[in-house]
């Protein structure tokens, strides 16, 4: 029977089911990845952000919440210009981090 509406799948994040093995390996390679305090400076300065939604802040968050696909979709738009690294107040080498994420996650896919 069709009531004319349907329930969309839950968007809830269940941390019990998120596998952080890869993220922990990333943390070993890039100890600073955990230092992000979600200030948003990187996204605000990113030339790719307005057109593509690229945000290294969101990438870091997505990887910790088991939403890798979303992270990769954003990362495709990065031009590796390094502006985000210049503004990060926590001194995270975000450009290098993006390269490490690409390397680590593509290796293991």
């Amino acid at each position: 029977m069709d009531f004319g509406f349907r329930i969309s799948p839950s968007s809830a994040i269940n941390l019990d089911n998120v596998d952080l093995t890869l993220f922990e390996r990333l943390h070993e390679m890039e100890p600073d990845v955990y230092k992000c305090m979600a200030c948003g400076s990187c996204s605000a300065t990113c030339p790719a952000s307005v057109y593509s939604g690229m945000s290294i802040r969101k990438v870091i968050l997505c990887l910790q919440r088991g939403r890798e696909k979303e992270a990769f979709r954003m990362m495709k738009n990065c031009m590796l210009c390094g502006k985000c690294t210049m503004v990060c107040p926590r001194g995270i080498n975000t450009r290098h981090l993006i390269l490490s994420i690409s390397k680590l996650y593509s290796e293991t896919k």
């Binding site: 994040i13 269940n14 941390l15 100890p31 955990y34 230092k35 979600a38 910790q64 919440r65």
Partner: protein, 339 residues
């Protein structure tokens, strides 16, 4: 004439003020309602931000104040106003005439069972920051000892910044205490996942931000921005918590072996009782009211009555100690002015 100086409360603020007054040549009287000196800090294990042992600090303060006239297990029964002084009647039957009182009655830890949605006192896996500190101090706690400790969560702002809990204030010390305790849990249980659920992180003090970065970078503590809305128990006896991950705008859920509630600092009933006898006014935040919140924090609106420490609001240890020294100096200057 020898002036009596009555210090009400033998916590760190009262002890430090007594120590300073002894050095200045006075013989202060300390009235402490419990059977031991040191107040809350005597129950803490290590102090942020340098993890210094609380016991060493308290032992040093007690030694420096040992020349004072100390009454333990003693409370004030009533206070009579005389012409230019007060007559204080103690519960042990002794009465003291004085013109100078220093109120160092401190705070109370918010009663976490009032936040029913967090299940303190209902679920075995839910404890408070105070319980955890006692456990670090070597006191057995079956709730912790029987826990698998694979996943541990900390809830910030329990009974603080919460109008429903009738305390809209920030308790100031609990963010940094959560960082400290989360690090200590990871040190003891390196395999445990540790989560901190916060609304804002208030890292205002010296080296606090470094301590926070340390928790993130070196201990991998996972900070999730969002207030825990409810806690429930599953059939395995673990607790399941729900919050919003406000940074991604999505609901988040996690199963934990232990949940630590960061209960805030509120004005203690024992403080209010003494304040009512003198009487001293209460400020809009529920703590005792200073003469001025900028330049007269250690003075009460009443001549000869001073404050130090957490009776006027949430304070850290160094702040309470600094106020105690300031109050001791104010007492000294006040006595000089009487001559």
């Amino acid at each position: 004439m020898k002036e009596n100086i009555v210090i009400i409360g033998g916590g760190i603020a009262g002890l430090e003020a007594a120590g300073q007054l002894l050095k200045l040549g006075y013989s202060p009287i300390i009235i402490e309602r419990t059977e031991r000196l040191g107040g809350h800090v005597a129950s803490w294990h290590r102090l942020f931000p340098d993890m210094s042992p609380a016991k060493e600090l308290v032992d040093g303060l007690v030694a420096a104040a040992s020349g004072a006239n100390i009454f333990l297990n003693t409370e004030i029964s009533f206070v009579n106003r005389l012409k230019d002084s007060y007559n204080i009647m103690l519960s042990n039957g002794i009465s003291i005439i004085t013109r100078i009182m220093l109120v160092t009655t401190g705070f109370s830890v918010f009663d976490a069972s009032k936040k029913e949605e967090y299940g303190y006192g209902v679920y075995d896996q839910v404890i408070t920051n105070r319980d955890l500190e006692h456990w670090f101090n070597g006191n057995a706690d079956p709730r912790i000892d029987n826990s698998a400790m694979n996943a541990v969560g900390f809830v910030h702002c329990v009974g603080s910044r919460d109008e429903k809990a009738r305390n809209s204030q920030c308790s100031k010390v609990c963010c940094i205490t959560a960082v400290k305790q989360a690090i200590e849990i990871r040190q003891k249980f390196p395999e445990a996942s540790v989560y901190c659920f916060y609304m804002d992180l208030r890292m205002f003090g010296k080296k606090y931000e470094d301590f926070y970065i340390n928790a993130q970078r070196d201990y991998g503590i996972r900070f999730i921005r969002g207030r825990v809305s409810e806690v429930s128990e599953n059939i395995e006896g673990k607790v399941v918590i729900k919050a919003e991950d406000t940074l991604s705008g999505k609901p988040v859920k996690v199963t934990l072996d232990l949940l630590v509630l960061m209960a805030g600092m509120v004005c203690s009933q024992a403080s209010s009782r003494v304040a009512g006898m003198i009487p001293l006014p209460t400020d809009s935040d529920g703590f005792l009211k200073s003469k001025d919140n900028v330049y007269g924090v250690v003075e009460s609106p009443k001549e000869g009555i001073f404050y130090a420490g957490a009776c006027t609001g949430p304070k850290t240890v160094p702040e309470a100690l600094a106020e105690a020294r300031a109050a001791a100096l104010d007492v000294h200057l006040f006595i000089n002015g009487l001559k």
